[in-house]
Subunit: 349 residues, 2 copies
Amino acid sequence: MENDRLNAGKSITIYDIAEEAGVSASTVSRVLNGSASVRKEKKDRIQSIIDKYNFKPNALAKGLSDTATKTIGIIAADVRNPYYSALFVACEIAAEKAGYSVGLANSLGVKEREQSQLDLLLQQKVDAIIQMGGRVDDLITDDAYAEKVRSVCASTPVIVTGKLDKAPVHRVVIDEAEGMSLVMEHLIGLGHSKIALVGGEMRVASTFYKYQRYQEKLNAHGIKVNGEYVVNGSYDPESGYDATNKILALKDRPTAIIAINDFAASGALRSIREHGLRVPEDISVVSFDNTYIADLMSPKLTSIDYNYDKYGQKLIDTAVAVSAGKEVEDLQMVEPVLVIRDSTGACYN
Amino acid sequence: MENDRLNAGKSITIYDIAEEAGVSASTVSRVLNGSASVRKEKKDRIQSIIDKYNFKPNALAKGLSDTATKTIGIIAADVRNPYYSALFVACEIAAEKAGYSVGLANSLGVKEREQSQLDLLLQQKVDAIIQMGGRVDDLITDDAYAEKVRSVCASTPVIVTGKLDKAPVHRVVIDEAEGMSLVMEHLIGLGHSKIALVGGEMRVASTFYKYQRYQEKLNAHGIKVNGEYVVNGSYDPESGYDATNKILALKDRPTAIIAINDFAASGALRSIREHGLRVPEDISVVSFDNTYIADLMSPKLTSIDYNYDKYGQKLIDTAVAVSAGKEVEDLQMVEPVLVIRDSTGACYN
DNA sequence: TTGAAAGCGCTAACAC
DNA sequence: GTGTTAGCGCTTTCAA
């Protein structure tokens, strides 16, 4: 190794502190962790030396001897998506309050990455793993992935934001159907009955559940389901744009559009504008996720919010509790809330 | 501890592998790292046992005995901002390619957090720290912070995306002035001479440099600088909105607006629309950062891009090189590029 | 090529 | 209360 320079910053250890204080390392350890009582006099002396050097114990050594690292690994589908970044930051803050630190890895929709990231977190001996999005979004659990997670669960608790059959994970999930109920009641209450659904894939559980409830609600209100009003696709602006173009080409246009998320909604808005229609006068738009994008759009979007702070808190609470061996419900629900802004209005047709 | 259940998943160690293979732990270590030659026969046998159990060495133990952890800590101002999330993911990908993993901490604009996060990363023995945004954005370096970083630098290389006087850090920064030059040449080339600047704070270095170049360019083109055309504020939509409202209230309205970032630009667009003006027919809008927001807006925004992939790569290359003790230039520049979309057009006034 | 032994920095019995 | 000792799991001399 050619990094002689670096070794200049040779870090100070608990032994250095002990020596200068004229005590043993264990005593220093005790004041560091408050794990046992130390005579006030010594304690103060030791503490002052710790402060003097701004000594921080080596987390690796600590984690190696302890059974816990006070670290929670988070695998997110993609933090560039504001949904995940909002949730991640909420987790980071909640974790910090609980004395934990978090690690982040992005799977970017690549199955292999999810698996290798699980391995990496295992190597790092995180106390728990939170998986947000990715394979756990699948309506039909991928067998190989479930198998992998099962083996991980043997040593480390796993908490997911979706579903994962045949693996002993804890789940903290959004009540998607309830979210759709809120949206439908809102629109129907405004007088809409021609309601379209754009974006999303049915292989994704959250989308499927929304779709189911969408149909249920239409039926419950005696509204005929029009297959042409549902155009699936993906979760990006383009997808919302394309789907909306198709829908606006119908002879019998809907008066309201539900976008699978804020990104798709932005595309829908663009399409609507290009068709010379106004929102919400001619057509209402609602979306899911209530990321800051909803607030950026003109008009500002009515959207389903999940209270990211609470959601993150729940995720962390669960991770902490489970890793401490406590009993926690396998399934916890996050209740969505409808945030009404300027993109929805009464139906005049 | 009540987590008996967890200990069931007692992880397998290098000794277990060694025992089953009938060799010593050192030999297993050697095949694991390819650090020395092991007889083919043994090597294969050991490898197959490793594969069989999908054994992954404990990173804590490894980091403790090694001098490197192959981990890079990243402190970002706020990953919820797409600028940082794009950069972070680019870093993650680049790091992965180099055999490193990254950790992320958000300082959220809180000075104390930045400092405590530095300590945390130090404890975790990361090989290098990359600080993006936060105190390093300050035009005037905060003394206490510089002092802190200086002490960190003694043991761990620090790379920043901004400036930090009096601390031996490496810098990988955007050529802000060049970005502004591109913007100004573009607008002036389109015939604009009444150009406004909205959002941003002068205490932030990147903003200040942009402002300087803005003035230089006006002067160079013989355009009189109109103080009313510069309305500072912050970096969010509201700020862009408020600033633009002020500017559009002027008797002599500008024909082009430069927003400090995409968020501010979104607010500017809203204000312009509310004034019944069209973009780009009545007024052109350009912004900085070219986050995906630029693509979400209607019209899509002309914006300055930094090529996040390359930027992240440079950051990681620097971190890896410096932590290996290699000589690296103290200051590296990232060249911006103008991405022209639909929000800018010729000036007809 | 391979194994034994020491050590990385810290914690946790166990004695005193 | 406090020191001693023995690990935690891995790497790395040093011998053989």
